[in-house]
Subunit: 223 residues, 2 copies
DNA sequence: GATTCTATATATAACTG
DNA sequence: TCAGTTATATATAGAAT
């Protein structure tokens, strides 16, 4: 009977955590598929839960492939000094904090996300400014927790071929027709993808949801 | 006042579709972050909406990098003949249907998903069997629609380092501490990731949500 | 531990300015 | 178009099985 308002924090109870994971994983996949359908968005999902050795994918292994391929087709122009800036910035901090280890920065090239761009308007020093999250947390407690281990990745990107977009939502499609669509999709190759990380926020590379914009915190999904 | 039960189909009205996209994108990101927090799952999100040239990411560009890096660390052992089988299977069909074009199969190697595995127990010929989706559709109409263009990708995978998993959900974490966690995460490198596409389903590479298992259809999130 | 069953929390379609 | 508002649909925590 869903009593609590969901205390947004890591669930310590193993079985409870697993139960929640299963339920929410299912819900998340459904949400993804709905967004895909409702907004004409190509989508895929893969889940390597801590509870199952075999991941589940949506809509298929090849569907995932296709999404990743799109990232790789992004024009090099978008590759940025901005990303380099970020790497440099984070690299410095990491080095500073863990001088005894060689910091392993995620590879910035050849992964399909190289043209990522981050405009960091906030001064790096601002990072150290203490910020009270409570006020925000009350609105969205999620921001206060941290987590890690398994991972979830969600991506939504535009595809460059409008011809196939409006495949009518036929409620009685047979598999033959589906097969045809598959081929259309697989043979399609559009390099016009447009990518880049925009905005004025500086985000942190781990599973929280806080952005720093002009030394102020905000939550991604609030805008 | 949310009147309709959400007709699970592509929204033809442009403005309505955009509005829905914005709301649901926000909701999806929140869900991802919550799953991340509640279940100790590392998560990230990127959204290239058709409406914004600049994508939004969660939790950060580097966070996304980290997730992709994990996929690349997956042991080669998992690479499969199974995947090859799938490629061969789909390749044949594509060639057959579009002999005039060289079918471009998603690259199977060097993308972090090469060990994808699909056990296709259903006979290929079974694919052509006509299947009425209506009964299923009533339960979950989503399965009947197709879509495409933009894309969504969601991934959930286990991380091998339990030490950092249980970072308590402190409600008043300051940025300094967060910085520290970032470094921990970035310096961590665990090659024990376990991957592979399991199950007996044969899925199709596009944005629907139907699986074929022994010539029967089912929806990913229902199990 | 997994599944099913509700009561409640949350998401969001349609409305409004 | 865009940002609130609100009624209703949906998701899901906790309990029961």
């Amino acid at each position: 009977m869903t009593r609590k308002k969901v205390k947004l924090a890591y669930i310590n109870n193993d079985s409870a955590r697993k139960a929640t994971f299963k339920k929410r994983k299912k819900g998340l996949m459904k949400k993804v598929s709905e967004l895909s359908t409702l907004c004409g968005i190509d989508a895929c999902a893969i889940m390597y839960s801590p509870y199952e050795s075999q991941p589940e994918v949506w809509p298929s292994p090849m569907g995932v492939q296709r999404v990743l391929s799109k990232f790789r087709k992004i024009p090099e122009m978008e590759q940025s000094k901005k990303m380099v800036n970020q790497e440099t910035f984070l690299g410095q901090r990491i080095t500073k904090a863990k001088p005894d280890r060689k910091s392993r920065l995620p590879r910035v090239k050849h992964d399909g996300f190289e043209r990522s761009r981050v405009v960091d308007r906030s001064k790096p020093q601002g990072i150290n400014k203490r910020v009270d999250l409570l006020s925000k947390a009350s609105h969205n407690p999620q921001g206060s927790s941290v987590d890690t281990t398994p991972s979830v990745m969600t991506t939504v990107m535009p595809e460059a071929t409008p011809e196939k977009v409006q495949v009518e939502a036929n409620n009685n499609v047979d598999l033959m027709q589906r097969q045809h669509w598959i081929m259309e999709l697989m043979n399609n190759n559009n390099p016009k993808s447009h990518v880049g990380f925009g905005g004025d926020e500086m985000m942190f590379p781990f599973g929280d949801n806080i952005n720093i914009n002009n030394n102020a915190l905000w939550f991604p999904w609030e805008r």
